[in-house]
């Protein structure tokens, strides 16, 4: 069983949702990346989304845009991101790692070399924001052949046909974008979002993670009552951006994640 499938099975038994923080690889510093990943786990993260920086992150709001720009200015390359995952895996063999980014840097490496290198490093899932299922058939197959889950996005605007395509091509989980906007944008209409989740899970037969616009423990608890996983990105990235040293970044991450981890652990899920 893959790490992601194992995690969701285990949490199903525990009756709670997963907490998945997002951080941009190489921000707030190159040397902080691996210690931060361990800190997130220590603070209660169940899986980690690691952002692969791109020069033109068109679906991201200012927080993640700036984090990408800073990381690229520090010289982050896709191979470095994979090397950090490998380093993380030397002392953590159980926490799923999901890479999130845009297609072009992956394509520049070549999808098969990328999938092989990512699998060797210990990556579990890949989200490419600008790769739709229609355009991404070859990429999805290449990832799955290496044992990596291609994770697709669904949005409030997605139609029925979309569910069918994603069901046939995606694996691991589905990332449900909770609002019609970019990362870090305003709060969603949670009642409507959560109502949709039950529906999605049944139709897709995949766990549903919810992200975009989740910034605090209260919202995490609200979302965790219905979703299989809660993704927190921009709010964490903002906190980390303020940190002057790696030690401060690690301490900040732990302080920020702990109450969110507490929230998923004390929220009982409504029957799925």
């Amino acid at each position: 069983m893959s790490r992601l499938a194992g995690l969701f099975a285990q949490l199903q038994n525990a009756g709670r949702a997963a907490l998945i923080p997002f951080m941009t690889a190489g921000d707030p510093s190159l040397t902080a990346t691996v210690p931060l990943m361990h800190a997130l786990v220590a603070a209660g993260a169940d899986a980690i989304e690691l952002g692969m920086p791109f020069s033109d992150p068109m679906a991201d709001g200012p927080s993640i845009q700036r984090a990408s720009e800073r990381a690229l200015a520090r010289g982050v390359k896709l191979r470095m991101v994979l090397e950090w995952v490998r380093e993380f895996r030397t002392t953590n063999s159980y926490t799923p790692i999901i890479l999130m980014g845009y297609l072009n840097p992956v394509e520049a490496m070549g999808i098969t070399p990328f999938a092989e290198a990512a699998a060797t490093a210990g990556v579990d899932g890949v989200i490419l924001v600008d790769l739709t299922p229609e355009e991404g058939r070859g990429e999805a197959v290449a990832l799955q052949q290496c044992g990596i889950d291609p994770i697709f996005l669904l949005a409030p605007t997605s139609g029925q046909e979309r569910m069918v395509t994603v069901r046939s091509m995606g694996s691991g989980f589905v990332y449900y974008v909770s609002l019609r906007g970019i990362t870090g944008a305003a709060q969603a209409d949670w009642a409507a979002v959560l109502q949709r989740v039950q529906n999605l899970r049944q139709q897709l037969g995949l766990p549903v993670a919810i992200g975009f616009g989740i910034r605090d423990a209260a919202t995490v608890a609200q979302v965790a009552a219905s979703a299989d996983a809660v993704v927190v990105g921009s709010a964490l990235v903002d906190q980390l951006a303020e940190c002057a040293t790696d030690q401060e970044a690690v301490a900040t991450a732990i302080r920020f994640i702990k109450p969110l981890a507490q929230a998923v652990r004390t929220t009982e899920r409504r029957s799925a």
Binding site: A59, A108, R180
Partner: protein, 399 residues
């Protein structure tokens, strides 16, 4: 038109084009595609577009025989397709009118646009006012500085101009920001993309709204010279004016088609904006096409004297035409464009846009190698009034 039938049903030109966007935009692109297909089939829409192009834009514009410069060069006869005489001074208005009519038909009350040189922003602001829509234009901070008169024009026309300070603060970043706006406001908003690039159906739609350039030029050339031109030349940033001129000639295999990219400080310096000449295929802004990128797939900063060509990608149909060999792509440097700018001013009494001057530079190189009974059509895509501050500054003159 004969056998050329691209794009295919999913918006691909061979391996190029397609639809690479965040999931949130997929339904909006599908809605747009259906609305556009319906509009194309609707005689009323076509009649209204035609009437607007006549009455508001001022079409048809002339195909002008540039006799003086042709004589001076001593080779082929150069004809200029005078898109600079359109209302708002460039070809951009053809597409802006088309997309705005479509937006109105779709019931959208708000239009947004990205702009580089500001010509597309001005065109969009103009049509938004004409059709009673709210208009917001995204423009890179650096472009706002070098094109201040166009910024003022947009504001005079009632548009809001929002400075984009992310990335390289130029056209590509304005496009990112406009996409972010569209993702957020997708139900109320129509995104008027200004070039023949972006996710399907934009490249085909923009081409279709600009093909009037080539359609007119074809008829005018036959009237004036009794035969088809030997060569078409147009500048290529995203490539909208070039595809508009080229498309109706694609099946006329004897007609050479040459796109001229911005060679900046010279191709060997890396300081340019010539993805077709020097780049490789990748995915940016919703389509697969030639890009200027580093070996890690990060998009490279570009340089051009003209803001309108300062873009690291290009429309997917040009990528296809390059690979298939049907069109050729070359570059002209800042210095060559500037020389061509001055030459046209002084020989023909026409001040061309700096973008257009790149096409002229190549025409002036090529004409002397051709016979005097041969013809070149250059798309005079825009007028140069917006660029006089840039040109003056380069010559140490403060206006």
């Amino acid at each position: 038109m004969g056998t050329y039938a691209l794009p295919d049903a999913s918006g691909h030109y061979g391996p190029y084009g397609g639809r690479f966007v965040a999931e949130t935009l997929i339904p909006a692109l599908e809605e747009l595609e259906h609305a556009y297909q319906e509009a194309q089939r609707d005689p009323e829409f076509r009649a209204e577009l035609h009437s607007e192009l006549r009455q508001f834009v001022g079409r048809p514009n002339p195909l002008y025989h540039a006799e003086h410069v042709s004589k001076e060069l001593g080779g082929a006869q150069i004809y200029l397709k005078r898109e600079d005489l359109n209302h708002t001074g460039a070809h951009k208005i053809n597409n802006a009118v088309g997309q705005a009519l479509l937006a109105r038909r779709m019931g959208k009350k708000r239009v947004i646009a990205e702009t580089g040189a500001g010509q597309h922003g001005v065109a969009t602001a103009t049509v938004a006012t004409r059709y009673g829509m709210e208009c917001l234009v995204y423009m890179g901070e650096e472009d706002i500085q070098r094109q201040s008169s166009n910024v003022f024009r947009m504001r005079l026309l009632g548009a809001q101009v929002t400075a984009v300070s992310s990335g390289t603060r130029t056209l590509k970043d304005a496009l990112n920001e406009a996409l972010r706006d569209w993702v957020t406001n997708v139900e109320s908003t129509f995104y008027v993309i200004g070039t023949a690039a972006g996710p399907h159906p934009y490249p085909v739609m923009v081409r279709d709204f600009h093909r009037v350039i080539g359609d007119e030029a074809r008829v005018q050339c036959l009237e004036l010279t009794g035969r088809l031109p030997d060569c078409l030349i147009a500048c290529v940033g995203g490539g909208s004016n070039a595809i508009g001129l080229f498309y109706p000639f694609i099946e006329d295999k004897a007609v050479r088609m040459i796109g001229v990219e911005a060679g900046g400080l010279g191709l060997s310096t890396g300081q340019h904006a010539a993805p077709l000449t020097t780049g490789r295929p990748g995915v940016l802004h919703g389509n697969r096409t030639y890009l200027m990128e580093d070996e890690d797939g990060q998009i490279l900063p570009t340089h051009s004297i003209s803001a309108g060509l300062d873009y690291p990608g290009v429309g997917p149909e040009h990528a296809y035409l390059k690979d298939s060999g049907r069109a050729e792509y070359v570059a002209a440097t800042d210095a060559e464009a500037l020389a061509a700018f001055h030459r046209l001013c002084r020989t023909e009494g026409i001040i061309p846009a700096l973008e257009t001057a790149h096409a002229l530079a190549h025409a002036f190189r090529l004409a002397p190698t051709m016979r005097s009974d041969q013809t070149i059509i250059v798309n005079l895509s825009g007028r140069g009034d917006k660029d006089i501050h840039t040109v003056a500054a380069l010559e140490g003159i403060h206006l």
